[in-house]
């Protein structure tokens, strides 16, 4: 696909936010990370651990809260971008994407502008190890390695590849022996065990459904996964559940539940409940908000805050530029604009979903913090919903150090790094590469900060 530059919509300031004169900063940081998704939070945790005075600032919560709670590096071998309807066969493997077993084997031959190619396999491997270490220290271990994807069941009964996954997920690996028994939870509208079971069986996996009642279901309101997760955090609730469910689980090899087994004490909830029920339990991610994603966010937030960093969520953030130099950010708070100065700025604001990219009109794209130039293809949307969507590759073009580039290929701000979903050149959804890109580019950017090599 040919990528071309789209001019920004703010004609007076083609590249860069409006310059302010004479304003002074309210605080000084070594590093400001804009964006609180996985990329931003991981970068914040790494930098704070190395002793950098770190602020993570974001308009809202990021991708963790709508994700699966796994770290995906490369999941699919996509078909050519636009298969003709005649080519679409009825078999899912023909129509959809091939599942990848070994992510490392796939990322060796990416185009040089792909974010994972910019980071490189070594950086990626180190990043995954760092992330696993961080989660391990927070008693929420993630299992897996770069050579093997877990094949995990979805709430529709499709198979979803994931590189790193929490212990509570991998019992559901579909290629492992043992029938998958999925729980119907009456009164809970976000999980349909029968549908998932039927689809798993169609694909040749042994599966069945069983009805399990949740104790204390409130009579007059909708049930949310986050509510139930908090109930499971308490030992008394788990004891009640175990008492009600235990006898129904005779002969169950593996029990699948929607991902709601605890928020603050998830690893303990999973172990305790498995012990009490005498069954191997696995969780299946469901509709947002994502309980397992929130666990990852909480792990990262506490890692940042316990090492002296700060996380501020709420204000909208724009870049602060003085004499052509990026000096910090301006946060629009309820009490007015606040200016924060920083030596380094990491942009981890994500793509369209999280506001790093905005599309003011059809086919137009702009970057929301520094109004950086954005590359986008000539075509934006595919005719069919589930096809690869060309717009997904839009983003900010960077050099090998992740600094944003202008149309001529010159570095715009040498102290600004772009990481995660804001980077051009990847179809994160189609590739199943989201967390791989987030983690690898975070690690690379933090390693590039002068004076903080830990």
């Amino acid at each position: 696909m040919t990528l071309s530059f789209t001019p920004g919509p703010f004609a007076k300031h083609p590249y860069g936010a409006p310059e302010g004169k004479g304003e002074s900063a309210q605080a000084h940081y070594d590093l400001i990370v804009v964006g609180a998704g996985l990329a931003g939070m991981f970068a914040g945790a790494l930098a704070a651990r190395r002793g950098a005075r770190t602020l993570v600032i974001a308009r809202g919560l990021g991708g963790t809260h709508v994700g699966a709670g796994t770290a995906d590096v490369w999941g699919y071998r996509p078909h050519p971008p636009t298969p003709s309807p005649a080519r679409l066969a009825r078999s899912p493997m023909e129509r959809g994407r091939h599942l990848v077993e070994n992510p490392e084997a796939e990322i060796g031959h990416l185009p040089p502008n792909h974010p994972l190619a910019l980071a490189g396999a070594d950086i990626l491997r180190e990043a995954l190890a760092q992330f696993q270490g961080l989660c391990e220290r927070s008693a929420y271990p993630l299992q897996g390695d770069l050579q093997h994807n877990h094949f995990l069941p979805t709430a529709l009964g499709a198979v979803r590849p994931a590189c790193l996954a929490p212990e509570s997920f991998i019992v559901g690996e579909v290629r492992q022996p043992g029938e998958l028994t999925l729980a119907r939870l009456p009164g809970f509208r976000d999980f349909y065990a029968d549908l998932a079971v039927a689809n798993l069986r169609t694909q040749g996996y042994a599966a069945r459904a069983i009805t399990l009642e949740l104790p204390r279901t409130p009579a007059r309101r909708d049930l949310f996964a986050t509510d139930i997760a908090r109930w499971f955090d308490t030992p008394t609730y788990r004891a009640e559940v175990a008492q009600q469910w235990h006898d129904k689980l005779q002969g169950v090899a593996r029990l699948g539940l929607p991902a709601l087994l605890g928020l603050d004490a998830a690893a303990e909830v999973w172990r305790d409940l498995s012990d009490k029920l005498g069954v191997r339990i696995f969780e299946i991610p469901i509709l947002p908000p994502s309980v397992p994603g929130m666990r990852l966010f909480n792990v990262l937030r506490s890692a940042i805050e316990t090492t002296g960093g700060r996380v501020t969520i709420g204000p909208s953030v724009s870049g602060w530029v003085k004499n052509g130099i990026a000096v910090g950010v301006i946060a629009e708070t309820a009490g007015g604009a606040r200016r924060y100065a920083a030596e380094h700025i990491l942009l981890a604001t994500g793509g369209f979903r999280h506001g790093g990219l905005e599309s003011p009109a059809k086919g137009q794209v702009c970057e929301s913090v520094f109004n950086l130039p954005v590359v986008a293809g000539p075509e934006f949307f595919a005719p069919l919903y589930w096809e690869a969507q060309p717009y997904a590759r839009s983003g900010v073009r960077v050099n090998e150090d992740l600094h944003p580039l202008d149309a001529g290929g010159e570095v715009l701000y040498p102290n600004v790094f772009v990481i995660g979903g804001l980077l051009a050149g990847a179809d994160r959804l189609g590739e199943g590469s989201r967390e791989g890109i987030d983690l690898a580019t975070s690690w690379k950017a933090v390693n590039g900060l002068n004076g903080f090599h830990g």
Binding site: L156, D194, F380, Q389
Partner: protein, 564 residues
């Protein structure tokens, strides 16, 4: 399998339903067949305006008079679907002042009450309107939800002893000795064929009327006039607002339920089953919207769609270059621009016209005048069958007793006063019980039908959350073959495409539902919609892997949904 009826109606839009209701109320044994769902064609794709007739007074006085007459009647007999919003005809400074004289005179001649009000009063009532209004007239326009109206009509047909079958496609007309004696039908879900013998077949297939007439060897030329609309994600006005100028693109804004619909464009298309919504149509609607309501573009557009008007003129229309809208009365033979073609209807007796007995076509016309078209068609049918019976449709309410005007607040009230209801679609407040009931009733295993029945997936999240839940409920219903035996889902077992419980049918229903939503979203995909798209794609392609599931068919192969 063969059955017989007196009147067979082809087409389940407003016209066909109106005709079937009229026939049933006159005591004829009546069957209506529709290849898709009720209001699947143009009736379900219009802007929601119940015309006062004022739009037509200058160029098409017959349509104007008919609209006003029917407007008054429908308010009385269909209160569950008609909201008395009232309407403005508002002229901006740029609009031609010479149109006002003929407009006022036309309204007077057609008997349509049009009262001039001061621009300041209009602004007081509709504060988002452009403050530079030149002149404003108040007319008795109203809003009419066509999904609600067609459902009410179908219930009323059944109450009068008639039948209305959806997903039954006409594959042939039976002819003997120059007379149509019945029809050959196919259940599109099961492939099952059946024969219906009928004393009279009435073709109400709108834009598709030519195809149906051709089955009897008759030539009927219907010009498909595509009109594109956009729904804004908020009710920007509470009054229908028309531009006071000759009819043109983007001249109307209609408040319907929780949205406001900006319409329409007008483009003649070759094929009513295949058309696309062009970027420049959306641009015209936004530009005209901006004139009526400053900063219109900053509001979120919810979706775009197009309907295909059945424009009829009983001779081949010679279309050359579209002429400028002149504001002149519609004369014979000046059908160069489809916008200048009459919105009036014709009832064709194919016996006198083509020498084919037992066959009537109802062509042209508009939603507002469906009842009148039905009355005229049944008057003709009665004469032809030598059993003239009095039309009663203007007196008997369409709404069954107890049916009330629907407001979104009604659902909220029901939810709050009942127990744990499990809201399946948060945007439109659709509960689990409603989804299950609608699935049982429709028996079609098509999630798209829930959109028309319940407005499921019509809100701002564009089915992101409810599609999975509805698919889960659909599959659970399907799976319980035992409940089918008990008669609980008899419709499913009788009508189902899938004799054995095949999950691929559920997967197809889900993907088709999502693809149908995507068609409406793709033309308006920027700002918040693009953000929403990424969230929804993340749910269906990543979290759920819906694109990798086996299906019965690809959505574009789906038999009755058109590909835009």
């Amino acid at each position: 399998m063969g059955i017989s009826t007196e009147i067979l109606v082809i087409g389940g839009g407003a016209t066909g339903l109106g005709v079937a209701r009229d026939a049933a109320l006159r005591g004829f044994k009546t069957l209506l067949v529709e290849k898709g769902d009720l209001a699947h064609g143009t009736s379900g794709r219009y802007h929601g305006l119940l015309h006062s007739g004022a739009r037509y007074v200058v160029r098409d006085p017959r349509s104007a008079r008919e609209c006003y007459q029917e407007n008054v009647i429908l308010r009385r007999i269909l209160p569950s679907a008609v909201e008395d919003t009232g309407g403005f005809f508002a002229a901006l400074a740029e609009d031609p002042s010479e149109y006002v004289g003929p407009f006022v005179a036309g309204c007077r001649e057609a008997g349509i009450p049009a009262e001039e009000i001061s621009p300041s009063l209009a602004l007081k009532e509709e504060s988002l309107l452009n403050p530079k209004l030149a002149r404003v007239f108040r007319v008795p326009d109203a809003a009419c939800d066509s999904f609600d109206a067609t459902h009410a009509l179908a219930e009323s047909i059944r109450a009068a002893g008639g039948e209305a079958w959806v997903r039954h496609k006409l594959v042939g007309l039976r002819l003997s000795n120059g007379r149509v004696t019945g029809a050959e039908l196919e259940n599109v879900l099961t492939g099952e064929r059946l024969t219906v013998s009928a004393d009279m077949v009435i073709n109400c297939s709108g834009t598709w009327a030519g195809k149906v007439a051709a089955l009897a060897g008759c030539e009927v030329l219907v010009t498909p006039g595509k009109g594109t609309m956009i729904a804004m994600n908020s009710r920007l006005v509470n009054t229908v607002v028309n531009r006071l100028k000759p009819p043109s693109d983007g001249d109307i804004l209609v408040p319907v339920g929780t949205v406001a619909v900006m319409g329409t464009t007008e483009i003649v298309v070759q094929n009513p089953d295949q058309y696309t919504i062009e970027d420049d149509e959306i641009e015209v609607l936004l530009t005209e919207g901006e004139k009526l309501i400053p900063r219109f573009r900053e509001f979120r557009v919810l979706r775009a769609w197009a309907g295909v008007r059945p424009l009829f003129k009983d001779k081949p229309s010679s279309r050359s270059t579209p002429s400028e809208a002149s504001g002149l009365p519609l004369g014979e033979g000046d059908s160069t621009d489809s916008r200048l073609m009459s919105r009036s209807h014709s009832i064709l007796d194919h016996a006198t016209r083509d020498g084919v007995e037992g066959f009537i076509s109802v062509v042209g016309g508009k939603f507002t005048t469906f009842r009148l078209m039905a009355e005229e068609a049944l008057d003709m049918a009665g004469r032809k069958l030598s059993t003239e019976r009095k039309c009663r449709t203007a007196e008997i309410p369409i709404d069954l007793p107890g049916k009330k005007f629907y407001t979104p607040g009604k659902r909220l009230k029901e939810i709050e006063s009942s127990g744990n209801v499990e809201v399946i679609c948060e945007c439109e407040l659709v509960t689990r019980a409603q989804v299950e009931q609608a699935l049982r009733r429709s028996g079609s295993l098509i999630l798209n039908d829930l959109r028309r029945d319940l407005r499921l997936g019509m809100g701002p999240c564009q089915a992101g959350f409810c599609a999975y839940r509805a698919a889960g409920l659909l599959h659970t219903l399907f799976l319980t073959a035992e409940s089918a035996k008990k008669g609980e889902i008899s419709a499913l077992s009788a009508n189902s495409a899938v004799k054995n419980l095949d999950v691929r049918a559920t997967n197809s229903a889900l993907l088709e539902f999502l693809q149908e939503r995507w068609k409406g979203l793709r033309p308006v995909m920027w700002a918040a919609n693009l953000r929403q798209l990424e969230l929804d794609l993340n749910i269906y392609r990543d979290l759920l892997g819906a694109d990798r599931l086996p299906t019965l068919r690809e959505p574009e192969e789906y038999p009755t949904e058109r590909t835009a």
